[in-house]
């Protein structure tokens, strides 16, 4: 483990670490543009100049590997002068259209100018080289004038997606990035281009002009789009989610996330959310209060007893699923969750980057808690045989399955916890309003068997409650209280009851999750970690 001294501080790093990463990891900031923690070192922006003792010239921190006894100075007059000059070069032809640029507020040029620059520009605005602006590349907008030619997007395209869409064209001060024949970016990871771009050259089409970023408040969460469980930030203002962006986690998603995942914020604030409970009397729906609806469910379950069936949802958090299982156990009903066999696809990739075939975030958590108990087919068979008097669904998945319609029609009482309105809800008797993933605390267990936390970012609409709270409400009415009133407390029960989860709690899981050993097929485990 080589030791070096940066700005008088002794720092020990892993062999092969570069000076820039060593400094950043230890809270010493060196300006940089082209270096990205999850991309190869390129060293073209020349802004991270530092003075290294016994080296004749200044070195770029990103491409200088720390060696034993190295003494680095990042703030010596020589280094600072070089950093300022390099920054000035980047800004020579920059259009300074910050007022209309969406990157403003999270722009490396702005931040570094305020920190290292603060000089008066020597180039008049009229003399700057004009380049192409407002080029629509599908989900990305290109503004070549703002580009600092750091090549992060080129490297992302070649190293992560392998699509190589971007290339530098022209020479000298007219060089700019472009796609071949202005073709649009068509792969599922285009949103990351806006994230890797340190300036406003590549921006998200979806977020364009929507909000100034300094109004947004970020909440740590986990993407519910598939079993990968990418770590995300939910950016919200006044209870309205404006965007999702990846949160770096080296073991799961690095700094990336897919575009289908990014688009999931759109389903949070829509008007088609289920915001109140309702009950069907004959042919018409009648709105009822949530307590009244829970009363109705409890009464039906009391009558049905063990002639009841429960279908959990792998969209629910571990806490939701645990409370739901407790409800099933309270009346000794049948229990499963495997509608559409998500457990067979949980580790199946659908591309080479992040996405997986199982579009549920918590299939592994359901498996760990033993929710896959009686089999969906067996439950449906019991329904057809008239042996199910009450069916409680944690999500509307089963209602959407065409083969299940006839079986559901034979069940006298079907209650469903739903987040969004849909025609399938008409097959239920009672609809309970459920909170969405961004509105509830909890944990998901991803395909690697990594337990990750999500935090509530926005309030749930209307009367909607987290699914665990709905289950706990019914349990109270059955005289079998859950014994926990918050996700944190429920997780303590989960940890006690689930093999492998012992010793875990919300605090121990932390921001980046906690990996549990994958049981079973070791080859799958290897593949999953890769």
């Amino acid at each position: 483990m080589p030791k070096c001294t940066i700005d008088g501080r002794e720092i020990e790093v892993a062999p092969g670490t570069n000076v820039l990463k060593a400094a950043l990891d230890n809270g010493i900031h060196i300006q940089h543009f082209c270096w990205h923690p999850d991309l190869a070192v390129d060293g073209n922006c020349r802004t991270c100049m530092v003075e290294v003792e016994k080296m004749a010239k200044l070195q770029i921190a990103c491409n200088t590997v720390v060696s034993e006894g190295m003494v680095v100075r990042t703030t010596s007059p020589k280094a600072v002068d070089a950093q300022r000059s390099a920054l000035e070069f980047l800004l020579v032809n920059h259009p300074i259209d910050c007022p209309v640029c969406d990157q403003a507020g999270e722009c490396y040029l702005q931040d570094n100018y305020m920190r290292y620059g603060l000089y008066d520009s020597k180039v008049e605005l009229e003399d700057k080289v004009r380049k192409r602006k407002v080029v629509d590349l599908g989900s990305i907008m290109l503004d070549a004038e703002r580009c600092v030619l750091c090549s992060r997007c080129l490297r992302f395209e070649s190293e992560v997606t392998g699509t190589n869409s971007f290339e530098f064209v022209n020479r000298g001060d007219r060089v700019q990035i472009a796609t071949f024949e202005n073709r649009k970016i068509t792969h599922d990871y285009a949103g990351n281009l806006a994230d890797v771009c340190p300036v406003g050259a590549l921006l998200s089409h979806d977020f364009r002009f929507k909000m100034r970023v300094w109004f947004l408040k970020a909440h740590e969460s986990v993407c519910p789009g598939c079993s990968t469980g990418c770590n995300v930030f939910v950016d919200e203002r006044d209870g309205e989610v404006e965007r999702l962006r990846p949160r770096r986690n080296v073991d799961v998603n690095k700094s990336w996330m897919c575009d289908p995942g990014r688009a999931l914020y759109k389903e949070i604030g829509v008007t088609s959310r289920v915001s109140g409970a309702r009950e069907r009397g004959g042919t018409t729906w009648e709105g009822v209060s949530v307590p009244a609806a829970l009363d109705r469910v409890a009464t039906a379950l009391k009558e049905a007893g063990s002639d009841s069936a429960f279908l959990a949802s792998p969209q629910g958090t571990n806490e939701d699923v645990f409370a739901f299982k407790a409800l099933a156990d309270a009346v000794s009903g049948k229990l499963d969750f495997r509608v559409g066999d998500p457990e067979k696809k949980v580790r199946e990739r659908i591309d080479k980057v992040l996405q997986r075939a199982d579009r549920n975030p918590n299939t592994q958590g359901c498996l760990d808690q033993g929710i896959g108990r009686d089999g969906v087919a067996a439950i449906l068979a019991s329904c057809r045989g008239g042996r199910v008097k009450a069916l409680v669904l944690q999500g509307p998945e089963l209602l959407r399955v065409p083969e299940a319609v006839d079986a559901l029609a034979t069940v006298p009482f079907v209650a469903v916890m739903a987040t969004h309105e849909g025609p399938e809800l008409d097959r239920a008797r009672v609809v309970l309003p459920a909170a969405l993933w961004a509105e509830t605390e909890g944990t998901y267990t991803n395909y690697q068997r990594r337990v990750q936390r999500l935090k509530a970012a926005v309030p749930a609409p209307g009367d909607a409650l987290p699914r665990w709270e709905l289950a706990a409400g019914v349990l109270d009415r059955l005289g079998r209280p859950l014994g926990a009133t918050a996700p944190r407390e429920i997780f303590a029960l989960v940890a006690k009851a689930t093999p492998g989860y012992s010793g875990l709690d919300h605090r121990a899981i932390g921001a980046s999750g906690r990996a549990l050993p994958l049981v079973g097929d070791a080859g799958t485990a290897q593949e999953a970690r890769a």
Binding site: D97, C98, P99, V100, A104, K133, V134, R208, F209, K210, R212, W214, F215
Partner: protein, 197 residues
């Protein structure tokens, strides 16, 4: 003796003279008003008091020559506003040179504290203040004025523009430095901005 206590000499009695002196003041003002028409009061609302050219009254959104708003929806005013009374939604302009403009721009005049920070923050001189201070409405909603009303105000202002980022403003040292350089190198002295109306 405690600080702040004034001891009044009661040995002297109030005479007739001070009384007459007081009456003379009243009589003098009365005569001046009656014969010389030099009243200390003004006949509001027919007459209004003149206000400073930097008066911070109701806002005006300025426009370009083609009648579109000068505002580029950068949200600087909404960011700096201490009363949080500015609401903006932005959209895309067809010209690639300007790109952005406000599709909605609302100021809640009842919530506004008329500090003028929005004028200071604006990089485009798109929002200025007028000298108008009549704020009358029959409902609260009426006094949340939208983009079109804010822009139309530019033509309606009776008393000329009020607070705006003018060149002689002492709070703009960068501007002043630029002006001094302009004067030293080119001998140009920009005059006062022309007032409207």
């Amino acid at each position: 003796m405690a600080i702040g206590v004034i001891t009044v000499d009661r040995s002297q009695k109030a005479g007739v003279l001070p009384l007459l002196q007081g009456h003379w003041v009243t009589l003098r003002i009365f005569l001046k008003t009656l014969f010389l028409r030099k009243a200390s009061t003004i006949q509001y609302p027919e007459e209004t008091r003149p206000v400073s050219s930097r008066y911070r009254g109701i806002h005006v959104l300025t426009e370009r020559e083609d009648g579109t708003p000068k505002c580029v929806a950068c949200f600087m005013c909404a960011t700096v506003c201490p009363a949080e009374c500015i609401y903006i939604e932005s959209g895309e302009r067809p010209e690639t040179t300007i790109e952005k403009y406000p599709t909605r721009f609302e100021i809640d005049l009842l919530r506004c504290v008329y500090c003028g920070f929005c004028v200071d923050a604006c990089p485009e001189e798109a929002i200025i203040m007028s000298r108008e201070n009549d704020l009358v409405g029959t409902t609260r909603a009426e006094l949340v004025i939208d983009r079109d009303r804010l822009m139309a105000r530019g033509k309606l202002v009776e008393h000329g523009p009020g607070y705006r980022p003018v060149d002689h403003d002492v709070r703009r040292p960068v501007r002043i430095a630029a002006l001094e350089r302009l004067k030293a190198e080119h001998g140009i002295v920009p005059g006062m901005p022309k007032t409207r109306g």
